[in-house]
Symmetry: C2
Subunit: 339 residues, 2 copies
DNA sequence: GGTTAGCACTCAACCCCGGCGAGTGCTAAC
DNA sequence: GTTAGCACTCGCCGGGGTTGAGTGCTAACC
């Protein structure tokens, strides 16, 4: 008993129907709604086979069947293979990005918002991260008599800043002079390298103990955290789906959505492919046992990569989501390339 | 029939019990659990009176009573009046702020997190906003050949930045010179005033068309948005309470929690008092018909004010929340004053 | 006159049960 | 290989009885 063409078509119909209705689908439904030229009895036989093959589950004997994770897997692989992702939503997405975005975080936030609105699922957007951002410019701006703002601009145009304490008698010009020499020394370094280089520089600069100490911890703090900012949109969208009408399930899902770090590390597991689809157990997260995660990447001009993702019930509108993610990925890549 | 001492004590007991259990409380419970030296029958008579006075509601005839909004109001006013808010949580909160906070947004985020953890309700923290922040320093940092980062530091130490386009042949030194002259011109101005002053300066600076245009829109964008950043913690905490086990209610609440702007404007309605408590209908927000909002203020060294708030069911542990908010307010004020 | 014991009454919550209907598996005929 | 027919299964739904918490009222008590 193999998986022939007809079985596949029937399976597809079942999945389509279940995605739409969230109700176990019976043989009669298939034979009537999707005209395959087959009677319900025949469908029944095929469904029985499909169940044996592991593509369908039966909640109980007198209910219809629901697709298993394996079925979704097949379905999605098919989608990805055919590549028939009509990007109808292109214009909708483009329209959303007409307004000028001030800064990366705004773009990220906005993208997550748009993504969740378009899909009606939860959307997550990770900022670009790459080999290691390199320092391009470093500048100190006076804030008060004994504090300064240190701003670094990296090669990817990302800006990081923090307020650090400095010794008292540093005026604007002195700070600028220091900034220039530091920029000269550190330009082209990654943040990690900068941490190592600092002690050498300390030797040559006398009394600015405090300043260098501040810089040091600033570099260290930023060297690690690549997932600094994660944008999440439509957190509560999951409640639209009957799968999560159980309060307890909803709660554990939603509290996961509140821990940015964990969420980021889940989403960040993105392979080499244009799209990654993880279905149910494949997510490896117990709270998401009946969720699917679809992710895609976008890239910036200088080879950094970011990830965008959508989280929804396993019964997800995969083709729609894939198409929207694809378009959004393009838009973001474009936006970041001519920046 | 007035509101005598005994009625008040009974009402208090009812509220206490209901806050604890969320179950309509009957006369027998009161006479047994809280020994008032009265039989259930007497309590019953008093409860009947209290209902007539509008302090109690009865879901149906054979259930116990639940406190009305009016009852909570009385209860809270009593609390505030007596001022017996023992701040036991002081040390817990202080411990949370030991680590150095890099920047305001971090503090805000962290405060919301701590607040929601301690109270088990949803917490909202608004950044300080005041009369109008005044520019202290303005600095331009080169980002790429045709873009610069403009950083302004205001008198409250708040930093705003944005990337703007500049004409091509501006190197670091030129930008610094421009920064210095702009700082001289604009120092002490509010952002609004800066918008008006800019055209005059334009006259004196020749070809930097692009730059000034960028600055202009940057000022304008920032002049309005006082609620730039709102920190929210424990969004899904509301699901811990049976009041919100109804999915539909939970959904409308949670989606309100996702619209930062709306939430900010709700929270921001904080009076002159140290604390503001809005109970149920008093919130004026239909989605929060059976929520209460408790807010408090903190202040920065230079007279700016921020708001912290907690949102929970009307059946809220008001004394606990008030005490925690009070302590947190102090901590934040301290943190921002010696900055 | 306030307090209390007693009692009848109410009503949501719970459980049990039978009917309904969607859906299946099997068999026999085409 | 396909299909019609039929017996069977089982979750869902609605009705009816039971339970128990809680009330309001009345009469007796201090």
């Amino acid at each position: 008993m193999g998986m022939d063409e007809r079985k596949f078509r029937i399976l597809q119909a079942i999945i389509d129907d279940y995605i739409l209705t969230a109700v176990p689908v019976g043989s009669r439904t298939i034979s009537k709604k999707y005209d395959m030229g087959l009677s319900s009895a025949t469908i029944r036989n095929e469904m029985s086979d499909l169940e044996e093959l592991g593509y369908l589950d039966q909640p109980h004997v007198s209910a219809g069947r629901i697709p298993s994770a394996k079925a979704y897997r097949l379905y999605v692989d098919q989608l990805l293979h055919q590549g028939l992702l009509h990007s109808d939503s292109e214009s909708a997405i483009r329209a959303h990005f007409l307004g000028r975005m001030r800064q990366m975080e705004d773009v990220i936030d906005h993208a997550a918002q748009v993504l969740s609105n378009l899909t009606n699922y939860t959307a997550v957007v990770l900022p670009p991260s790459g080999p290691q951002p390199r320092i391009r410019t470093l500048q100190l701006v006076p804030v008060s008599s004994n504090a300064a703002l240190v701003v670094i601009v990296t090669d990817s145009g990302i800006v990081r800043d923090a307020v650090i304490r400095v010794s008292e008698q540093l005026d604007s010009d002195t700070l600028y002079a220091i900034s220039k020499s530091l920029t000269k020394e550190l330009s082209g370094c990654t943040l990690k390298e900068a941490v190592e280089l600092l002690p050498q520089i300390t030797g040559r600069m006398q009394d600015n103990e405090k300043l260098l100490q501040g810089l040091n911890s600033f570099f260290q703090e930023n060297a690690g955290s690549s997932h600094a900012h994660v944008a999440i949109g439509g957190r509560s969208n999951i409640l639209n789906y009957p799968e999560y009408s159980d309060t307890e399930k909803a709660r554990s899902f939603l509290s996961l959505m509140e821990t940015r770090d964990k969420l980021a590390s889940i989403i960040a597991q993105q392979g080499e492919m244009a799209f990654t689809v993880r279905i149910g157990p494949e997510t490896g997260v117990p709270e998401m046992a009946d969720c699917s995660i679809v992710t895609a990447t976008y890239s910036t001009g200088n080879g950094q990569q970011g990830t965008i993702g959508v989280i929804g019930p396993t019964r997800m509108q995969y083709n729609r989501v894939l198409s929207i993610l694809g378009t959004m990925g393009h838009q973001l890549s474009e936006l970041f390339s001519d920046d």
